[in-house]
């Protein structure tokens, strides 16, 4: 559509930045690379906000339309099957553009200070730009195939960023783990895409949605009729697509990569593992929500996986001691909220869950990025990730402490901070659809408040006698300005974004949604959260014997939780015993003997032939001409026979 064509720059600028900083990483200084990256992302953020302003300022018949700004055919195989590349603007993609560019801009700015003195800073900024480009391409995709391409690009760039400290074996292992686990999930995604493309007759989102939500259409009848193992193809494709989404969004049981991914630089965690990449799965479900809505089984799966992941991660978070891992589990838990928000949602008037989920995605991006950046500042200060090395930092880092408290209050759902509003809507929607999920959500909210304040107290209060050990670096106050400014901006966003009338903008059908405020439900939720905070205050405000006593009392259960329910061990066991023990020898034998044998055979045959045709190439012209003439006779005969 005319008027929006400038949004192509939102994709071009990060790509150019990636090329410039990547190719020139040896020639330009890291700071200059940082400035280039920050400037280009800042321009993108301004463009996105401008786009959001003009898009949401424009109604057509009371509905926000879905505008295909660009739609270029890329590979056209046949009339029906062609793959396009394009950019679509609709409420969720516009919202995601704003979220991604804003957080990415903050992280770029913050990284200039955080990575000060690193020699490979140029490479870091080029990876960061590549990631931003991929993520932005993902959210504006007009079709499943384009989304898949960018989805994998996101995976690659996150692999590069997690493994940025490539001299650290744990970082390398973490990057591989993240890549392999998400790749495994993406396999399901790809199969799901192919099935959906097959039954829907197209990869385009608008075509798929309009065909597969119309019970009269022939595509819908084939999709729901034909089946495999008694389950319709449509259900299969949705479940498999959700598998891809669950892998990227670290939903149980594909979450194991997320805590380990914290080996990457902290700003990277803020960008990738808080605000953007991990919500790709939520975005995917939201993108295909009308189709999911047609299949209650798939939607229920989304709801239950989300709710269980939320609870599961919150329980683990209560026992961890690594600041970033606690935040990682909290991310997983909050994404669980978004997932079950979608899972319990209806369409149109009943779309409170959808709207709440998107709202939570937005507010969570702001406060979780703030938490990670705050954690980065703390880590920068004490040079350790362990909470036991921290404590009583509120006097040394007052601004960081205040901002961290703000984010903790927000994630705990205390009004008037942003997290309260979005979580409230998800919980209300859950109560209307599924009381059990509501119960889980409510309990998790209490746990969230508990572990977040546990973290806050352990870092900023909790005087420890052994804290004042001599430090190798001179103690300076607070982080540098480039790190403080993004945090303050995010803190401001955390304060105000809750009052944003989201229900008017981002809804399941593009129409504004009426929401009613339930004072009783809010009171219950606030009460639960306050209880969590109170418990945390009792245990962790000052050093005391209670935490250890409870841990001892819980005994085996505590150990189980502390070891993250042994999920990693189970995966290792399966991998070792089953794959390495059983499948690998067979595959190995097949590869050595059958595949290699075939190749060697081909090689030998080719070699023999190759020698034998040497005689053709005698160098004598009359020999050539003889062949030439023989060839033309053969052609003549063939022409007459065939």
């Amino acid at each position: 559509m005319e008027g929006y064509s400038y949004i192509i720059w939102i994709l071009i600028l990060p790509l150019l930045t990636f090329l410039v900083t990547g190719l020139g990483s040896r020639k330009i200084s890291p700071t200059l690379a940082g400035i280039i990256g920050t400037t280009s992302m800042g321009i993108c953020a301004l463009l996105s906000i401008y786009t959001a302003g003009s898009y949401f300022g424009y109604y057509s018949n009371g509905v926000y339309p879905s505008l295909k700004v660009f739609d270029l055919p890329w590979l056209s195989f046949t009339e029906n099957l062609s793959i396009h590349l394009g950019m679509v603007l609709d409420p969720i993609s516009v919202m995601m553009l704003v979220v991604v560019t804003l957080v990415s801009f903050m992280v770029h700015l913050y990284s200039i200070g955080y990575l000060h003195g690193e020699s490979r800073g140029g490479v870091y900024f080029s990876y960061l730009s590549l990631f931003s480009f991929s993520m932005l391409g993902l959210v504006v995709s007009t079709n499943l195939f384009q989304m898949y391409i960018f989805w994998e690009l996101v995976g690659v760039s996150s692999f590069l960023l997690i493994g940025y400290y490539f001299t650290k074996p744990s970082a390398v292992a973490a990057s591989k783990k993240a890549f392999i686990v998400t790749r495994f999930a993406d396999f399901g995604f790809l199969v799901g895409i192919l099935i959906m493309g097959y039954v829907g007759g197209s990869f385009e989102f608008d075509a798929i949605i309009s065909r597969l939500t119309n019970p009269e259409s022939p595509e819908f009848l084939t999709a729901t009729g034909a089946g495999f193992l008694g389950i319709s193809l449509l259900t299969w494709s949705l479940v498999l697509i959700f598998m891809g989404g669950a892998g990227k969004s670290a939903m149980f049981p594909l979450h194991i990569w997320l805590p380990d991914a914290m080996e990457g630089p902290t700003p990277v965690s803020a960008l990738i593992h808080a605000a953007t990449m991990v919500v790709a799965g939520v975005f995917l479900v939201a993108r295909l929500f009308p189709v999911f809505f047609q299949v209650p089984v798939a939607l229920d799966l989304v709801a239950w996986v989300g709710a269980l992941s939320a609870l599961f991660a919150a329980i683990i978070a209560c026992t961890q001691t690594d600041i970033k891992r606690i935040l990682a589990y909290s991310t997983m838990s909050q994404i669980g909220y978004m997932m079950f928000g979608l899972g319990v949602s209806g369409m149109g008037e009943a779309g409170l869950g959808y709207m709440g989920s998107m709202f939570h995605l937005f507010t969570h991006a702001m406060f979780k990025a703030l938490l990670f950046l705050g954690a980065g500042a703390v880590i920068h200060y004490v040079h350790s990730n362990e909470v036991s090395d921290m404590g009583a930092l509120r006097k040394k880092m007052p601004v960081t402490g205040l901002l961290f408290l703000l984010a903790c209050l927000s994630i705990s759902g205390i009004p008037p901070f942003s997290g309260f509003f979005s979580k409230e809507e998800i919980l209300t929607a859950a109560l209307m659809k599924n009381p059990v999920v509501y119960g889980i959500g409510l309990f998790t909210a209490g746990l969230t408040a508990f572990y977040m304040f546990r973290l806050y107290y352990l870092i900023f209060w909790h005087n420890k006698p052994y804290h004042d050990k001599p430090s190798p670096l001179p103690r300076k106050k607070e982080a540098p300005l480039t790190m403080m400014v993004p945090m303050i901006l995010l803190g401001f966003a955390t304060l105000v974004s809750g009052f944003f009338p989201f229900n008017n903008f981002v809804t399941s059908d593009g129409k504004p949604l009426e929401i009613t405020f339930h004072a009783d439900l809010s009171a219950i939720a606030i009460g639960v959260s306050l209880t969590g905070i109170a418990l945390a205050s009792v245990f962790y405000l000052r050093p005391g014997p209670w935490p250890d006593k409870i841990a001892t009392a819980l005994g085996g259960f505590f150990t189980t939780v502390y070891r993250k329910f042994y999920i990693d061990e189970i995966y290792t066991l399966v991998a070792k015993k089953f794959i390495i023990g059983t499948v690998s020898p067979v595959a190995n034998w097949f590869d050595r003997n059958v595949v290699d044998g075939l190749m060697n055979f081909t090689g030998t045959v080719m070699g023999v032939f190759s020698d034998s045709i040497k005689v053709w190439q005698s160098g004598k012209i009359h020999g050539y001409l003889l062949w030439f003439f023989a060839g033309s006779m053969i052609v003549l005969i063939l022409m007459f026979i065939l």
């Binding site: 590979l75 080719m606 045709i613 053709w616 190439q617 030439f628 033309s632 052609v635 007459f640 065939l642």
Partner: protein
């Protein structure tokens, strides 16, 4: 039929002719003075025809229908001009040692002029004239290394073999005339009635077969490829590049046009023969290429294999195939000329051209090694380079015409070809050498060629609208 129409329709040909005349006058008056200027002048003339063919293609016929042009012909001529620009640019290093730089440009322009007339021919004799104009200067180009006996041998072999193929072609043309009473393409097309009566069409079919062989010789399809080995080996590198890309491209364009527009009624027959020939060409090309230790010979032979893949598209006898051939040719031009540019500049600067010399190239000349890597990946058809998409569309067109076995066979040959393309990559990046090629500056013209080819290889794959545009240009079997 006035002067203005003539100028307007033959604008690309006249531009080349004007360039030729200017070069000739320059040669006469300023013997040996500033040949460098001549190089840039030739490049700008060719860029002029390139742009003209893309943006201002003429549409219509002249000389009573002997000369026909349109947007498709314009596009084909543009592709050939672009390739010639690349060859002149990377040939500069080699030409610096030659006292006859200007003659090289003259000959290149003459060959191109011949090719342009070939492409635009609307009459068999016009086509023949163009063909000869494109062949004779080529033989002169092949002997351009005067002090090397292999170069003279290449020239002699090229001229003798061409003469033989021309003879067959003319014989075919005379039979066609005997069978139909005309040599104009459109009239020929309507004169063919198949399979109404074998008796009356016997002469036509026999004539067609000889024409077909003549083309097969030009694109060096097996078994008419034997001359290529000696000619490619003896000729200077830029000339080999010209033979294996530009000459083949021109012949293939005309081959497709003649098959699709003049003899569509025989399509069932020629499609099978072409498919068979394609399969043979792939295998034999692979067998030759895999045993080459000399990079120049290796590239030349691998180009035979690529023609085999192109024949799959030709054999599909569909509009899709026509577009795929055009698209692949453009990609092939970027890939093969990029590779030739690297090989040529290394041979000229250091005199090294065997595979073992290339070991450790990445350490000393990383940019050259990377450019060659991209080009070889594209030739091998590894995604996401454009070569992958080119092959994809070729095989797709074959498959959609139902030639599944041919497509499977082509895929198997792609695997074999991977082996020898990657062997070069391994030598450059993995192997180490005690005596690597020293670092050197390859000079601006070569850098331009490499930058263009790498960009082309990467961007063409993503710029899918181009294929649609090519499809819209081709109206083969409608």
């Amino acid at each position: 039929m006035d002067f203005i129409t003539l100028v307007s329709l033959l604008r690309m040909e006249l531009l080349l002719t004007a360039g030729l005349v200017v070069l000739l006058i320059y040669k006469i008056f300023y013997e040996g003075a500033r040949d460098k200027m001549a190089g840039w002048f030739t490049v700008s003339v060719l860029l002029g025809t390139f742009l003209c063919g893309i943006f201002l293609p003429a549409e219509g016929g002249y000389f009573g229908g002997m000369f026909i042009t349109g947007s498709l012909a314009g596009m084909e001529k543009s592709i050939l001009s672009l390739g010639s620009v690349f060859i002149i640019l990377f040939g500069r290093t080699w030409l610096e040692n030659s006292r006859h730089e200007l003659e090289f440009y003259l000959l290149i322009l003459s060959v191109l002029l011949g090719m342009f007339f070939m492409i635009s021919a609307g009459h068999l004799l016009m086509f023949y004239l163009g063909l000869e104009l494109a062949t004779l200067p080529l033989a002169a180009l092949a002997v351009f290394d005067f002090n090397k006996s292999r170069s003279s041998e290449a020239g002699v072999k090229l001229i003798l073999n061409s003469a033989f193929s021309s003879a067959l072609l003319l014989f075919g043309a005379s039979l066609v005339y005997g069978g139909s009473g005309t040599l104009y393409f459109p009239e020929l097309n309507s004169a063919i009635t198949f399979p109404a009566s074998r008796g009356s069409s016997f002469l036509l079919l026999a004539g067609f077969s000889f024409l077909f062989t003549g083309f097969a010789f030009k694109i060096s399809a097996v078994p008419f490829h034997l001359w290529t080995a000696d000619v490619y080996e003896g000729a200077p590198v830029p000339v080999t590049a010209f033979l294996s890309v530009i000459s083949k491209g021109a012949a293939l364009f005309v081959f497709v046009a003649v098959l699709y527009r003049v003899f569509p009624l025989y399509s069932e027959t020629w499609s099978l023969v072409t498919g068979l020939m394609g399969a043979l060409t792939m295998v034999i090309g692979n067998l030759f290429a895999m045993r080459q230790g000399n990079l120049k010979r290796f590239l030349a032979f691998s180009s035979i294999t690529q023609v085999g893949f192109l024949l799959v598209g030709v054999a599909s006898a569909s509009q899709l195939g026509h577009a795929a051939v055009l698209y692949f040719m453009l990609i092939y031009l970027f890939s093969n000329l990029g590779a030739f540019a690297v090989v040529s500049v290394i041979a000229d600067k250091t005199g090294k051209e065997t595979l073992s010399d290339y070991r450790g190239l990445y350490k000393t000349n990383p940019m050259l090694a990377l450019a060659l890597l991209v080009a070889l990946f594209s030739l091998a058809g590894i995604p996401p380079t454009a070569g992958f998409f080119g092959k994809l569309f070729l095989l797709n067109s074959g498959a959609s015409s139902g030639m599944i076995y041919l497509v499977i066979f082509a895929c198997m040959n792609m695997v074999v070809s991977l082996y020898y393309y990657l062997r070069v990559v391994k030598a450059m990046f993995v192997d180490t050498s005690d005596d690597p090629i020293p670092h050197f500056n390859s000079g601006l013209p070569v850098k331009i060629v490499l930058a263009c080819s790498v960009l082309g290889i990467i961007l063409l794959g993503f710029f899918g609208g181009l294929f649609d545009y090519f499809t819209s240009l081709t109206f083969g079997l409608q």
